[in-house]
Symmetry: C2
Subunit: 371 residues, 2 copies
């Protein structure tokens, strides 16, 4: 195909006239050559969502990451390992976190020799925490299917999670960069400390916004920020560039988690049990807000459901009604949008590149489900 012709990259997507872009990076390049502005280009690409477009742009790297993940998960003698992990790794995983590593590395250079193993390490850490979270939360559904702890048992999830942590560190060591190892091992400590803090805050109505933010920075934002920063460092980015990537990942992660908290009191099907947080006694951002000026009746509702773990099916609707009444849903939405905007602002310090635009659109996309 003629790599300078825009239509070389366009394929029909469905019968409604929508199109799909085959190789978004080259497409943009061709667009720039053809004198078409980036903004118009991104409107043209309305078919795939920003995550899909990022996956498209990074498709070569992602294929290598996936191959490496498969290779490192195979264990001839212990078939339980690929069994448990293929279920979770293959089950609609978005590869969001490794894509942050890849995008950061490609944005600041040619990626370096190590961005692929680092991206795989990031996905391993993420998968390990999912396996352990599902045991701790006693979850039965993940990504629209049964969880590994339900399909096998808690023991497998614990030990295979440990195996993934160890494999992640092996991959990180293979990168040969002590700076990257420092970033990712610090993130692992922050993540696990956040998980313990979340556990001890469970069913505690005295949980403060400060504690909540520490939990969120730990359980979600730490890996987003380390993933982006590690990619930048692997590509030899400057200190200001890698700091921006870190700040971007952190803000994106917080925005992502606030959105998740909000959706847990929503009514849409997102392949996750709505009302999980209430049943698990998690004191999330909307609940903390609603507790500030709760009536006696409302406080008694939260005390019964969250503190005392006595919940009925209808309680999720009741909780949603209270949160709506107290303005807690609107305020959580606003906070999520604020962090999304902050994520986009941090990108200004990075090179103007189609990938930067995609990261900016990604920040819109993580909150798109609630706007």
């Amino acid at each position: 195909m003629d790599i300078h012709r825009l239509d070389s990259y366009i394929r029909p997507a469905g019968g409604d006239g929508r199109v799909r872009i085959v190789d978004l990076r080259r497409f943009f390049h061709a667009g720039i050559i053809a004198g078409i502005s980036e903004e118009v280009m991104s409107l043209d690409a309305a078919g795939p969502n920003p995550l899909e477009r990022l996956a498209e742009a990074l498709s070569g790297d992602l294929a290598e990451v996936n191959a490496l993940i498969s290779e490192r998960l195979s264990s001839e003698q212990v078939s339980r390992i690929p069994e448990v992990t293929s279920h979770i790794v293959g089950a609609g995983g978005k590869r969001l976190r490794p894509m942050l590593t890849l995008a950061a590395a490609r944005l600041l250079g040619n990626g370096g020799p190590h961005h692929v193993p680092l991206a795989a390490a990031v996905e391993f850490i993420h998968t390990a925490t999912l396996l352990h979270d599902d045991v701790v939360d006693e979850s039965t559904r993940r990504r629209g299917g049964p969880t590994a702890n339900l399909l096998w048992n808690n023991k497998s999830s614990i030990l295979v999670g440990d195996y993934l942590f160890a494999r992640a560190f092996q991959l990180m060591v293979s990168s040969g960069s002590l700076r990257v190892l420092g970033i990712l091992s610090d993130a692992a400590a922050t993540i696990t400390e956040g998980e313990v803090l979340q556990l001890v805050s469970t069913r505690d109505l005295g949980t403060t916004v400060e504690t909540y933010m520490k939990v969120v920075r730990g359980k979600t934002a730490a890996l987003f920020s380390a993933a982006a920063e590690a990619g930048g460092v692997a590509a030899g980015g400057s200190d200001s560039e890698t700091a921006s990537l870190r700040a971007y990942g952190e803000a994106l992660g917080i925005s992502f988690q606030l959105t998740d908290d909000l959706l847990d009191y929503g009514d849409r099907d997102i392949g996750k049990n709505t009302g999980d947080d209430l049943r698990e006694g998690k004191v999330t951002f909307p609940v903390i807000l609603a507790l500030r000026d709760a009536t006696v009746e409302e406080r008694s509702f939260w005390s019964r459901t969250i503190e005392k773990a006595r919940t009925a099916e209808a309680d999720v609707d009741e909780a949603r009604a209270i949160l709506e009444r107290r303005g807690a849903l609107a305020e959580t939405r606003s906070a999520a949008l604020g962090w999304s905007a902050k994520a986009k602002e941090t990108l200004a310090a990075l090179p103007d590149d189609p990938l930067r635009s995609m990261l900016s659109e990604l920040a819109d996309y993580v909150v798109a489900r609630i706007v």
Copy 2:
């Protein structure tokens, strides 16, 4: 005190004329100056056991390791972390594995600047696996006291274990040695793979000696060997020296585990529930041996207890009787002694030093409970 006088280091220990050596390293040094052979010296020191003598010789380093462990476990905001870990880290932990790191480093040099953080990292990895093992095994007793999963809950044990893994990697990164990071992250992968293999082999009477050995190399020997090797590398040891240390740790670990397997069918109080392996359905070395030429009745016993998990209190005695009859206890004892002897042989390649003698005596000591 006069550091050249042997009696400066001797204190009474109990009223039966036995003595305790205060500073074994200096004591040996004084002994060498006084022209007393090392062999006689070690006979003189009959009071403390080899582990205590090693602890004495490494007391300065060990104090630093303990201080570092305490410092890294403190978490201002998450008090559950020091609560769970102080219980297990403080509860009669022998610090055997970190002592291997320290001894190896001191044997091959002055220790280097990093042997202390590496020893702490080794202890963190060990403690993390204990926390997770107790959840997986549903244990209620550890080191003569209740387990953390019993005192708190499985969730705390899982997440605090993860936190310790992460802290271990942070300490390893601080050593600044990619080679050491490679040794310890490879060990972590071997350990966790061994744990998964043990899980899937549980209650499987078809478990082979080969599988058993892979489990033991994983769950026990990998950390012993990595601990010793990492200490040697940190001190700048030669390739042959660090390979010997690795082989020593591996043989010591296998010997240690075979001894544990044997004692689990013994009748002495070792601060561990005798018969745990039978109740947990673990197919250990003596059982594999006894299955080779089991009678129909014996096979039916193992099938009921191990395969089908139907055990009564008297079954441990019955199991012991069968193992005795099949010669499985004697053969396990002989295998443990063989690995202990192998451990001692590997020390020949290392410098002749009081610490080397202590490592040799340690290899005797780990099997002393069964001779």
